[in-house]
């Protein structure tokens, strides 16, 4: 295992220390329990947004705490959901009196821990709603599974619901727009290499020198299909077509598109992929109105990428364009 770390068990705490030292203008960090909160929290009268999940997906979620996006993020151990006490304390810290929205990625652990936290917060008199993101088309959605995983659309939900909250919308309204983003979003990812959980010390899965894995999640979970590595254009097709056909996105649709690196992929490759995605969408008569190309929701040092599309109407574009000031996403201010 080759990592720029000290002890595996100190990774999350030391990362939090780094974030606190690097961004004192944006965030404050609580160490007991762990959470990252907007420097000016709680914002009076504003709906508070709390997200969280296992660490190792940086900049998700801590990099998205700040004006126009999250009010707090709860980091768990690497790839492990945080615990209800973290979420409860974060919820209390951001409660400005207008209620708190929990943004939860659909993993059994995350869902159960956030459920417990919401129950506790409600017992303390804080109004809490939650949105569970489940955009991963690699996973079959059926009554007989835990449903689809929440992946890339989470970044969009945090940005857009964050803008809606900043505008002063009510908890019900912010929750509704967060649900709309999730409903209109789909993603799929792939890996060229595995990643190494620091405490495990070895790759989560093994891929041959000429193999890739299609349909991976963001935790080094094995995907749905292992196959021989293919040219970038074919890989983009393998991800984009199932996404497009799933919602489906249709001729005349406008979308916001993200080509996301899994952590170990050079930016040059992501632009090559974006180019092909743009052409595929154009072929379907779909227009990209905004885009993100870079590392936004990662899987440690995994090489690979994911694609996320969100159908965009005027409301969502306006909220997307609203100012945001976080460590990892910033514009308009």
């Amino acid at each position: 295992m080759k990592k720029l770390i000290n002890k595996p068990e100190d990774v999350v705490r030391e990362e939090l220390e780094g974030i606190a030292l690097a961004h004192p203008d944006l965030v404050k960090v609580s160490y007991d329990p762990y959470y990252i909160v907007r420097a000016d929290a709680p914002v009076k009268g504003k709906v508070g947004l709390v997200s969280g999940g296992g660490s190792g997906h940086e900049p998700l979620h801590g990099g998205y705490v700040g004006m126009g996006m999250l009010d707090a993020a709860c980091p768990g151990e690497v790839f492990t959901s945080p615990t209800p006490d973290q979420m409860l304390e974060a919820t209390k810290a951001v409660n400005g009196g207008a209620g708190v929205l929990h943004i939860v990625k659909n993993y059994t652990g995350d869902v159960m821990n956030f459920e417990m936290a919401a129950e506790m917060a409600q017992m303390e008199g804080i109004e809490v709603t939650s949105v569970v993101t489940n955009d991963d088309v690699a996973v079959q959605d059926s009554l007989y599974t835990a449903g689809r995983r929440g992946v890339g659309i989470t970044v969009f939900v945090e940005k857009i619901a964050g803008a809606a909250a900043e505008e002063g919308r009510s908890l019900a309204e912010v929750t509704a727009v967060a649900k709309k983003v999730n409903d209109w979003g789909r993603s799929m990812g792939m890996a060229l290499t595995s990643c190494v959980v620091p405490q495990a010390g070895k790759p989560t899965f093994d891929l041959g020198e000429d193999e890739m894995e299609i349909g991976i999640g963001i935790h080094g979970e094995p995907g749905r299909k292992r196959m021989k590595i293919a040219p970038a254009d074919e890989i983009v097709e393998m991800l984009a077509e199932p996404i497009i056909h799933d919602l489906p996105y249709k001729e005349g649709d406008q979308v916001i598109a993200m080509v996301n690196g899994m952590g170990g992929t050079p930016l040059i490759e992501l632009y090559i992929a974006y180019r092909k995605l743009h052409h595929i969408l154009a072929g379907h008569g779909i227009t990209v109105v905004r885009n993100l190309v870079g590392n936004y929701i990662t899987s440690l040092e995994m090489a690979g990428m994911s694609i996320t599309l969100m159908k965009a109407d005027d409301e969502l574009i306006k909220l997307w364009d609203a100012p945001v000031k976080t460590a990892a996403l910033r514009w308009g201010v």
Partner: protein, 210 residues
């Protein structure tokens, strides 16, 4: 009767067993999950270990509730709420008790399992810890009904848990992270069922033995 000392011995020993099986459990989770189950359980029971001395003079119910709360706040993932709820519910059932009958034990395991089912919205056959726990409860109930003593009941439960654990191998996961794999989840043993089996095995080795 199960003494408080035995309960504490079981919890201390289970902490050791988890440390010994940390890599094994994590390896099972790597195959169909995210390679952290052993790490999570080890972290959680490491934290439990530090709490046990402070509550050693409290009743068994309080001890188990403390274990549950500690797991909830230190394990995370799916394991945290599930094992946390397991011990919280067992502790609530055993409130105020300083020693346990076989019937207490059955009642506690029963409500612990009900808690897991409720929290996880799951049932048997879904390739989870319930596939070890539920057969264990049934075997324990049967053993006690047949007049077996506490140790015999725990041994019967362990045997059933082991079979249940092995039975998860051919199962298709429909709950938890492994369900994302669809057909590819088949052929692997469930890590949570394995840690549950180890928990019962440790009980059989530490409770009602002498």
């Amino acid at each position: 009767m199960i003494s408080k000392k035995e309960i504490l011995a079981w919890l201390h020993r289970y902490r050791e067993v988890l440390a010994e099986n940390k890599e094994y459990l994590t390896g099972l989770d790597a195959a169909i999950g995210d390679a952290d189950h052993g790490i999570n359980m080890d972290r959680g029971f490491g934290a439990v270990e530090k709490k046990l001395d402070g509550v050693a003079d409290k009743d068994i119910g309080t001890i188990l509730k403390t274990v549950g709360m500690t797991l909830v706040t230190t394990v995370g993932g799916a394991g945290g709420p599930l094992y946390g709820t397991f011990f919280l519910k067992a502790g609530m059932t055993l409130s105020g008790k300083n020693e346990l009958t076989a019937e207490d034990m059955v009642a506690a395991l029963n409500s612990a399992i009900e808690g897991v089912k409720m929290r996880g919205k799951a049932t048997t056959g879904e390739k989870t810890m319930l596939d070890a726990l539920v057969p264990a409860l049934e075997a324990m109930q049967k053993s006690v009904a047949d007049g077996g003593d506490i140790h015999a009941a725990l041994v019967a439960a362990t045997t059933a848990a082991e079979e249940g654990m092995k039975a998860t191998i051919p199962m298709l996961a429909t709950k938890g992270r492994a369900s994302y794999l669809g057909e590819r989840s088949i052929g692997h043993q469930d890590p949570g069922a394995t840690s549950s089996y180890l928990m019962l095995k440790t009980a059989a080795e530490t409770i009602g033995v002498s």
